[in-house]
Symmetry: C2
């Protein structure tokens, strides 16, 4: 078995110089913040059997562990800077560590986000990443900044991750081709970092959140923090390409409350539609207008004809049910 120190060196300590003043290998890492910028900090813990299947592919798990954190920075409009990784492992398995670190670093390098420190220990598989980004004062996309009259926008597409989960769980018969096509959305989400940065850089959006627990639940956090309500057009929700081939009811349900999408839901004044579309084009990320923020509290889901739909669709909550 590798010792803890060998393990860190071999798989997580990289040869090239980073931008950090001091990286892995001391009591603390040292970073020099960019003058005048604020620091955005987020932290996610992934537990085997809860956030990923036992035996999940190590490379995709390395990707996903960082992706969910990058997604939080994206939702603030922050520019990724660095992260720490704490890892509890049942054993120092070389092939697992190789795959995990490869997936992790591929995504980290794509976003110039540097691993600056962390911890490894023996124990049940648990992955905890804390990430740091930078954002100019007053530019962060906060949950409490939505205003009545704002458009509600969604990046990319929704529901394919939830569809893949349903396929794995056998909730209904999903053909193997559809499962294979939807699975990458569940295992290897794409954090919308460039879009978040473009929206905050342009001052084009008011509020934003990333959709991890399902649109209805996550938009609900914006509504609560901003003390507003919303009307969503269920038929305008952009279903993922695999989900789009399913029946309407499932499509609506998984778009509205699927979870694990890691798309951005953001609000912007109607007067800024062109700026939003320009920011999305610059980021290379499609966006869809799906509703509006209302002064009246509560969330209303309507169909294309404007009729109200049932909203007994709760957001995913890690402590209720599975």
């Amino acid at each position: 078995m590798l010792s803890e120190f060998d393990l860190i060196k071999q798989y997580f300590q990289r040869q090239q110089a980073g931008r950090a003043v001091l990286g892995i290998g001391d009591d603390c890492a040292l970073l020099a913040p960019s003058p005048g910028m604020q620091l955005a900090i987020s932290c996610d813990m992934l537990v085997e059997g809860r956030h990923f299947f036992a035996g999940a592919d190590a490379r995709m798990l390395g990707h996903k562990s960082l992706a969910v954190n990058l997604s939080d920075l994206a939702a603030m409009g922050a520019t990724p800077r660095a992260f720490t990784l704490a890892l509890s492992l049942p054993s120092a398995d070389r092939s697992w560590l190789e795959g995990f670190s490869a997936g992790l670093f591929a995504l980290a390098d794509a976003h110039q986000c540097e691993l600056v420190g962390g911890d490894t220990t023996k124990g049940p598989l648990n992955i905890c990443i804390t990430i740091f980004g930078e954002v100019a004062p007053g530019r962060a996309l906060r949950r409490d900044a939505a205003k009545a009259g704002d458009d509600i926008w969604i990046s990319g597409t929704l529901g394919d991750a939830r569809l893949a989960l349903a396929g794995y769980r056998g909730e209904f018969a999903l053909d193997a081709g559809s499962l294979a096509a939807a699975a990458p959305r569940m295992h290897a989400p794409t954090p919308r970092v460039a879009l978040g940065m473009a929206l905050s850089g342009q001052g084009a959006a008011h509020a934003a959140i990333d959709i991890s627990d399902g649109l209805v639940g996550d938009l609900g956090h914006i509504l609560a923090a901003s003390q507003v309500g919303a009307t969503l057009d269920a038929d305008a929700l952009p279903a993922g390409p695999v989900l789009a081939r399913q029946q309407q009811d499932l499509k609506r349900r998984f778009c509205a409350a699927g979870g694990d999408d890691y798309e951005l839901c953001f609000t912007a004044p109607a007067s800024r539609r062109e700026a939003v579309i320009a920011a999305a084009a610059r980021a290379g990320t499609p966006v869809t207008r799906v509703g509006a923020i209302d002064a009246e509290p509560g969330l209303r889901l309507v169909d294309a004809s404007g009729s109200t739909l049932d909203l007994s669709l709760a957001g995913f909550d890690h402590f209720s049910g599975d």
Copy 2:
């Protein structure tokens, strides 16, 4: 069972305004770094059965989880600023959460270190804290800064935490009174934050590390990073008050390689002895001079008469043995 969101609100979201621009409750926390300061970042993960006993007192565990991270800041000479907490819990047990959060916040408040974000999930008990401090450029106490001729200093006392562990494990017969007296050193270590800040503020010290895995192993990290050697006087090592009553051999062994001391080991030029003593006095922390840095590689342990002692005392390693 409490939902995740209720749980966070009830036990970890505090009423009073913090210094953070934006605290718990958004995708990220926002901090405004102090102009011109560098950011020191550290991360520790504590696993039940490995870093603490199953059923450990929740309040002391809350204290210790933050203490080990504050100790890393102390070892850099950084001023504590904020931290994130990720918590995996088998169940949302109210009395555990009450105790844990009370112990955590009592220590956090004592160091004006603000909880700004985190994550809670269901799973095997695992506590991961990432901490942020600030230090002026060039002032951090780095492991690679020891110079031949430096004195080696130790804060406080060593070995009582290891003595308590030996008592719990039944490694030898330790009377109940001694165990009770030594136990707080194991369960509720005191991070030497004020001393680290005083040493870095005065530029009194070169290198520093906190002693978590045992003096020999941790000093070894300084020697390796600084490419120097050292001679330690085993009989000058400041044994804790309970260990001090044990026989010489055990005293030397637990002082040199006990672990879980969370004292600082630091080096400073002989010309700065008065500055070190002044910094220690200002911090209210006793310090003891225990040896010297040598140009010759390797670590030599000698007794009061200068005779060499056996050094087959390895530092604790989380992946070898227990």
